[in-house]
Structures are given as C-alpha cells and as structure tokens.
C-alpha cells in the first residue's frame, strides 16, 4: 500500500525542513552516499519514520496514519521527509528492498510499512516491541 501522490495534489510543499542537515547531506549525493546516510540515521536514532511530509504536516494519508499511531503511543521519533530529495526517495526503497513509503525503523531494524505498523499496533505487538527495544 502507499504510493499516494494523488493524495498530495493541491497541497503546498513543506514550509520548512524537519532536519536541515538531512537535506544538505542527501541532495545531489550519489547512491552509495545515500545508503550510508540512511544507515547512519537509522542507527543513531532509536525510532525513525521515513515519510512523505513531516510529522506535523504529513503529505500522504499512509504516512499520516503512521504519524497518528506514533503520536498516540507518545514515543519520540525522528520523521524524515523523503519528498525533499529524489535520491533519498529512491534510496530508502533500495535500502530496505521495500517499494513504498512510509517506512518505520526501530534501533536500525526495518519494522514495516503502513499496513504492518497498523496491524502491529492493533494487536499490541508494536507497543511490546517499542517497550522492549527502546528505553524511555
């Protein structure tokens, strides 16, 4: 699920970047730079969501669903907007061998996309995973 460019039509681009250096490091970088950058992001942050838009302004319904779940669980996470860089947008799909966005990473491990995150949230698995892997 989740290529949803049709849902973003008519919306303004994000007014600000969630993470200034993300843009700087990924823009115009080559593919191996992107892979190294992504690896560093998912390893140096406990919870990372690669998404379309930002946590405060998701630009895709599927990314929005993951944001809602994370906000509901009140866990801190880093949102990375893939719409800021075409290299990143393709690079994250190559990184995980996963064709769609959003993508959730916990402690460097790819957990899933929107469907899996929702399913895990509904059966309490996500809460258990976060509790066991991330110390508050």
């Amino acid at each position: 699920m989740d290529k949803c460019d049709n849902l973003t039509k008519g919306k303004a681009p994000p007014a600000r970047t969630p993470d200034g250096h993300a843009k700087e490091n990924t823009k115009d970088g080559n593919m191996s730079d992107i892979q190294a950058w992504i690896e560093n992001e998912v390893k140096s942050n406990d919870i990372v969501v690669f998404m379309k838009g930002t946590p405060s302004f998701p630009q895709c319904g599927f990314s929005g669903q993951v944001v809602q779940i994370m906000d509901y669980l009140q866990v801190p996470y880093k949102g990375i907007n893939v719409l800021e860089s075409d290299d990143l947008r393709q690079g994250i799909k190559d990184f995980s061998n996963w064709p769609t966005i959003p993508q959730l990473y916990v402690k460097g491990e790819f957990i899933g996309g929107c469907d899996i995150v929702r399913e895990m949230f509904q059966n309490q698995e996500l809460q258990d995973l976060l509790n066991s892997k991330v110390t508050a």
Binding site: M1, D2, K3, C4, N6, K93, N97, W98, P99, T100, F110, I111, G112, G113, D115, I116, E119, M120
Partner: protein
Amino acid sequence: MPMDAREIETLIKEALPDANITIRDLAGDGDHYAAEVVSESFRGKSRVQQHQMIYEALKGNMGGELHALALQTSVPE
C-alpha cells in the same frame, strides 16, 4: 495506469501456487486494492519477508503501475 484485480491474483499465484487470495477493490477505481493472502510458504517468515514475497511476485508493479495495495498475509490455520 490501473491494474486489474485478476492480473494481481495471477501474478501472486505464479509465485505462490498454494496461495488463497482475496482481493477487494477499495475505491472502485481499479487502482486501490486490499489483498489478503494465505500461504504455507509464509510459515516461519517475518511480516516484512512475507510482504516482500508478494512485492516480488508483483514484479516491480508495486509503487509503479499499482498505486495502492493494502496487504495482509498469514499462514493457513
């Protein structure tokens, strides 16, 4: 370019012949589907791996020609 539900089913069946597949056209536009796939070959695999098997079966159509496919995978009871 929308994709036919039958086409999706055929591609999954080719990769997972034992699969029990239910496909719903969510919006009635031939572009937003939900698929439930039950197959013995999912046994012992993580959800991510199970979904990756489906994406592989769809041969790169996912995220391209196929706009939205909500997936639910499981092993037979």
